[in-house]
Amino acid sequence: MDAFLAQLWIARWPIFDGFLMTIGISVGAIVFGTILGCIVGIQLVFGSFLVKLPFRLYVDIMRGTPLLVLILAAFYVPAVLGLSLSAPQAGTLALGLFAGAHIGELVRGSLQAIPPGQIEAGRAIGLRFPQILANVLLPQALRTALPPWINTGVELIKGSSLLSMIGVGELLLKTQEVIGRNFMTIQFYVFAGILYLVVNIALDLLGKSLERRLGARL
């Protein structure tokens, strides 16, 4: 154990950098994915057939393809199309597109769960559609979508570990590099696992408390 702590002390900065990279990429992906997901979800519910089609296609492709394939594709494909993305950028793009599809389905589900009477009531008091969306539908959808949204965040933090395979210096890759130096395989993988656990459980608890509070207010 002492030997492990000594090695951990030596490796503290690389692991800390990796940890920050994991958090940074996950935050970037959830922000990108949430904006995208809201657009997708609203179009899937209220768009015309022709508008729905490409969004439906996007969601089905993202949900039918493994995240690792998306990440590898985002890493290799932009280069040949003349777009040069760094590995962290490609990784954030892949995770964000993936999150966008999942959040899109979440938003669709929670919008459809609102009784249609609400829209009619909004119209009856003279609100226009954007106003109905902003003041009537979205606040209610937020309540049902929030717990699974937090869950998407947990999935993204877990998924960001796959970025180690395209050379993004996040927590797992940094851990592997440290293991390459000191061969303390079990100790450092377990340590990385514990870091992931702590963040994810904290997120999970945050989600539960938000759910309780929103549930009480609305």
Binding site: L72, L172, Y189, V190, N200
Partner: protein, 219 residues
């Protein structure tokens, strides 16, 4: 943007991709089969009267669900040999994926167990079945049928997660695709075909599962 699509290089290795797809499906089937056993035990533990069993099941689910699968896979593959347990890469990956699937299936079966109407459990007890017999002949079939949709979703999820086996050099679909990608640099073609194969497989499985669900009416 000067890129002309040229699928020839991908079709030349298409049988490798199909072979990879079959390996991925095999990994998922094996993992979900073992995971179902783990999940059933853990789900019954999670609704049992014993506080210890509930705590064990709860901790297992909490730990596994919050750790990335890749970390679990690497830990089992690279760290277990240090403790004297030697597994080949297939065994080790199936083991990790089964452990992972077990945690998700615990939740699935737990929900299924809670959905079993109390009346039929009491009816089973009333006609003189023991607690074990009631669980086996009354609760289990109803619970399995009720959890069929979520079980199917978990299977599809695990099939997609089998792509992570590429990290420990199991030649499944993603691994083969990456190989073609690096060999030929037909980037767009390779990844669209690989993604298409995954999507086609997922939709086929989903359609088969819907048929299965129709075949056995819900209780």
């Amino acid at each position: 943007m000067n890129y002309t699509l040229h699928f020839g290089a991908v079709w030349a290795s298409f049988d490798h991709l199909l072979g990879g797809l079959a390996i991925g499906l095999g990994l998922a089937v094996a993992a979900v089969a073992i995971g179902t056993l783990i999940g059933l035990l853990s789900a019954f533990a999670s609704v049992s009267h014993s506080r210890l069993l509930r705590a064990i099941s709860g901790t297992y689910v909490l730990l596994i669900r919050n750790i990335p699968l890749l970390v679990l896979v690497l830990l089992v593959y690279f760290a277990l040999p240090a403790t004297g347990i030697r597994l080949d890469k297939y065994e080790s990956f199936i083991g990790s994926l089964a452990l992972y699937a077990g945690a998700y299936l615990t939740e699935v079966f737990r929900a299924g167990l809670l959905s079993v109407p109390k009346g039929i459990v009491e009816a089973g007890r009333a006609i003189g079945l023991t607690r074990l017999q009631t669980n086996l002949y009354v609760v289990a079939p109803v619970m399995l049928r009720n959890s069929l949709p979520s079980l199917g979703n978990t299977f599809i999820g695990m099939f997609k997660d089998s792509s992570i086996a590429a990290a420990i050099a199991i030649p499944e679909l993603t691994f083969e695709a990456r190989k073609i990608n690096v060999d030929t640099f037909r980037v767009v073609e390779t990844w669209s075909v690989a993604s298409g194969l995954y999507i086609a497989a997922c939709f086929t499985i989903a359609a088969l599962l819907r048929m299965l669900e129709r075949r056995f009416p819900k209780f």
